[in-house]
């Protein structure tokens, strides 16, 4: 269970006792998808950045199965985020982009290489392993990012509007991938504006209002 309790964040230094800009409290059990809605600027990306370890919270508690995550750097948190864009390194071919998720030093075992090959075939990218991201369509790029997230096997998946701007068929393919992960026990936090995405994936939904989850 991901337990987030009074996780606060200020964009500027604030005095003790002052109400923080953001304060998040929620719980997310394994295998469940929680959707977070909210207008632009409401703090959706801030929430994800705090969970993933890209921002330092002002206070609060964040644990996964009782293990404190706040003192850990992003790569040790067991969390993978898929963003709306900029998910890939533009100068590296597809398979290295995926491979970096499995082995940060790119010393891939034969088994890992085989998993990448099979994964690419599974998401319909067979034969595109040595393409650069600039040579792929938006949907293909997102499939690469999602495949990497899935192959990493993190127990927590954060999705920051990853389906925005994709056509219906591509979105349905990506939804199926996420559903498979949920079935395998991965907890998913989905941030989206799109009702279709939320209805297709979310088990619960909440709304961000004035920096608080309601």
């Amino acid at each position: 269970m991901l337990d987030c309790h009074d996780l606060t964040f200020h964009y500027r230094r604030c005095d003790p006792g002052e109400t923080p800009d953001f304060c998040f409290t929620f719980a997310l059990p394994p295998g469940e998808c929680l959707a977070v809605e909210g207008p632009s600027g409401s703090g959706k990306s801030t929430l994800l950045a705090l969970l993933a370890g890209f921002l330092e919270p002002g206070g609060g508690r964040l644990t996964w199965r009782g293990r404190d995550l706040l003192g850990l750097p992003p790569w040790e948190r067991g969390i993978t985020t898929v963003f709306q864009d900029h998910n890939l390194f533009d100068h590296l071919p597809v398979w290295i982009n995926v491979g970096l998720g499995l082995a940060p030093d790119m010393k891939l075992s034969r088994e890992q290489q085989a998993r990448i090959r099979e994964g690419l075939a599974e998401v319909g990218l067979a034969g595109l392993h040595d393409r650069l991201p600039g040579e792929l369509s938006g949907g293909q790029r997102q499939r690469v990012a999602l495949l990497r997230a899935l192959l990493r096997g993190s127990p927590l998946l954060l999705l920051d509007e990853p389906f925005t701007g994709l056509d219906e068929a591509t979105r349905q393919g990506l939804w199926a991938l996420v559903r498979r992960q949920k079935a395998a026990g991965v907890a998913v936090l989905l941030v989206s504006h799109d009702r279709d995405d939320i209805e297709a994936l979310a088990d619960r939904r909440c709304r961000l209002d004035s920096g608080r989850l309601v």
Binding site: Y11, W75, L88, F89, L100, G101, D105, D130, G211
Partner: protein, 565 residues
């Protein structure tokens, strides 16, 4: 709710800042600024008993100063003034037969050693050059227009107009394609396009570009030595050389050097106080034309005027370059007979490699240190560190060489020590250019990339290997090639500290030109040009993106099949 002031993903809080870059940066900064200011200090110390009033009281010195200012101003005005319509014409016409060739010729003229360019200019514009029949037919030009003010300005324009036009074109091509599309859709007229798109792109560039061109023309040595040199067409740089080399008048040399420095520095301060921070180096990547969208200003009269500007540019650039190639091919049989050629070429290459690597190491150290300071939120210190490398731009080579000579005089003997000094000065002189090329690539990872790298734990050596080095290797190679080329073509510093009996290729070329040994000079020029081309080709090949099959992770058998196919 509070308003967000920065991006959601600032510089990673997990990125531990190693202090190595700062250490290297400080070491390089101390070396560059210390030697730069030290050489200036030595000059000041030497100039103690001098009266600056000499500059206007001594008629010949006043004439030299007037001529230096006049030729540099005229060359700058013509180079920048003519570069604007040329760059606009090239931007307006993204596709025409010969455009690629013209751009390559412009880039070649940026790196070609000045003595080679002079050789080509003499072959075309000399008394019996290719242009002689046209000149006689026109009857408006004197026979010796290549010598004196007109020749010096022509040579400076030959060198600097392509530089200015190429940088302006780069600035225009860097405008987002959407802006050009929008302009096409709105049907903006020529004037409207100029005001809305073209001038805003050029305006930040012009002050610094003008300062750069003025400094290059003001401190130009080989061109003035060859095409001027008489009492009526001598510059401060040449007078400085003569004071050092022939009159051994160090006090006069110091006064001239300080005068030169004061003028260049004032101009740079003026230029730096205006405009943004434009890139003053031509990108290694081929420029991307704005696109094929319809431009309202591309038809009508501009068809004719653009053709005129581009034909003029081709007439200025191509004949001297072709003349060097033709004369070089004719002079090829001379190559085996030139006993001094091989040692001179080897000497040049070794010195260029030393200077190039030195410039590159200093550039990377300064930029890495400055980036470290910026990441530690010390922007002012970062600016000072980066500015240290650019300081050399306003200290002319001979000033630096003279100052260092004065500093090291008790110890500086002859022979290899003089050559080591040349390598050092050349490395310093190439530093600002190397920094300009590397600067764009060194910041490395963008905020989203850093976020990804942190997420996957790509750190340390793996981060350098996979994320930083692939972006750096091409700019580093280009910077090394530029620095080596500058050193390969150097004639000013080597003329002061080199030995005529052990010449480098430019020295040998100058000796041959002075002795009217045209065949030998042609062969030497050709060899020098070939070395420049070799340096660029070799570095380009060594740092090209790996072929795709080297990156694939297919099983060996499939990989072999893919390679065969």
């Amino acid at each position: 709710m509070a308003e967000r002031r920065g991006p959601v993903t600032p510089v990673s809080r997990w990125a531990t800042l190693s202090r190595w870059p700062l250490g290297w940066g400080l070491a390089a900064f101390t070396a560059v600024v210390g030697l730069g200011l030290g050489s200036l200090g030595a000059l000041l110390w030497q100039a103690r008993g001098l009266h600056p009033a000499m500059l206007w009281e001594e008629p010949w010195l006043a004439a030299v100063l007037r001529f230096t200012l006049w030729q540099a101003s005229l060359s700058t005005l013509l180079s920048i003034g003519l570069a604007v319509p040329v760059a606009l014409a090239l931007a307006r016409r993204p596709r025409f037969p010969g455009r690629h060739l013209l751009l390559r010729a412009m880039e070649l003229s940026l790196v070609i050693p000045s003595l080679i360019a002079l050789f080509g200019l003499v072959a075309v514009h000399g008394r019996r050059g290719w242009a002689a029949p046209l000149r006689d037919w026109l009857g408006a030009l004197p026979e010796d227009y290549l010598y004196g003010l007109s020749g010096i300005v022509l040579a400076h324009v030959f060198y600097n107009l392509p530089l200015a036009a190429r940088l302006m074109l780069q600035a225009l091509e860097e405008a987002p394609a959407a802006q050009w599309r929008l302009a096409g859709q709105l049907g903006l007229t020529r004037v409207a396009l100029w005001r809305a798109l073209e001038w805003p792109r050029l305006a930040p560039l012009v002050p610094r570009l003008a300062a750069l061109v003025f400094t290059l023309c003001f401190t130009s040595f080989a061109i003035v030595m060859t095409l001027g040199g008489g009492p009526n067409s001598s510059t401060l740089e040449v007078a400085l050389y003569q004071a050092m080399k022939f009159d051994h008048d160090l006090a006069l040399a110091a006064l001239l050097a300080l005068t030169q420095l004061t003028i260049c520095l004032s101009l740079w301060l003026l230029a730096l106080s205006r405009g943004g921070t434009p890139r003053l180096a031509v990108s290694g990547r081929p420029g991307r034309p704005p696109g094929r969208w319809w431009r309202r200003d591309a038809g009508g009269l501009s068809r004719f005027t653009d053709s005129l500007w581009l034909a003029g540019l081709a007439a200025l650039l191509l004949p001297p370059l072709v003349a060097v190639l033709v004369a070089g091919i004719v002079g090829l049989p001379e190559l085996p007979q030139g006993a001094s050629l091989a040692p001179a070429a080897l000497r040049s290459l070794v010195m260029a490699l030393g200077a190039g690597l030195g410039a590159l190491a200093l550039a990377v150290a300064l930029l890495a240190g400055s980036q470290w300071l910026r990441a530690s939120r010390r922007p002012f210190e970062a600016l000072v560190m980066e500015g240290g490398g650019q300081l050399i731009l306003v200290i002319p080579a001979l000033v630096l060489g003279t100052g260092l000579f004065l500093l090291l005089r008790p110890r500086l003997g002859s022979g290899w020590e003089g050559y080591a000094l040349v390598v050092l000065v050349n490395a310093f002189m190439a530093l600002p250019f190397a920094m300009q090329v590397v600067r764009g690539a060194l910041p490395g990872l963008s905020a989203p990339e850093q976020r990804l790298a942190d997420q996957f734990g790509v750190r340390g050596r793996a981060r350098v290997r996979w994320l930083i080095w692939p972006r750096l290797r091409r700019p580093l190679a280009l910077a090394l090639a530029y620095a080596m080329t500058l050193s390969l073509g150097d004639f000013s510093v080597i003329a002061l500290f080199g030995s005529p009996s052990a010449p480098t290729l430019p020295m040998l070329l100058f000796q041959q030109l002075g002795g009217y040994r045209w065949q030998g000079a042609a062969a030497t020029a050709m060899l020098l040009l070939a070395l420049v081309a070799l340096v660029f080709a070799l570095l380009d090949r060594l740092t090209r993106r790996p072929p795709r099959h080297a990156w694939t992770f297919l099983p060996p058998r499939e990989r072999r099949d893919a390679r065969l196919s």
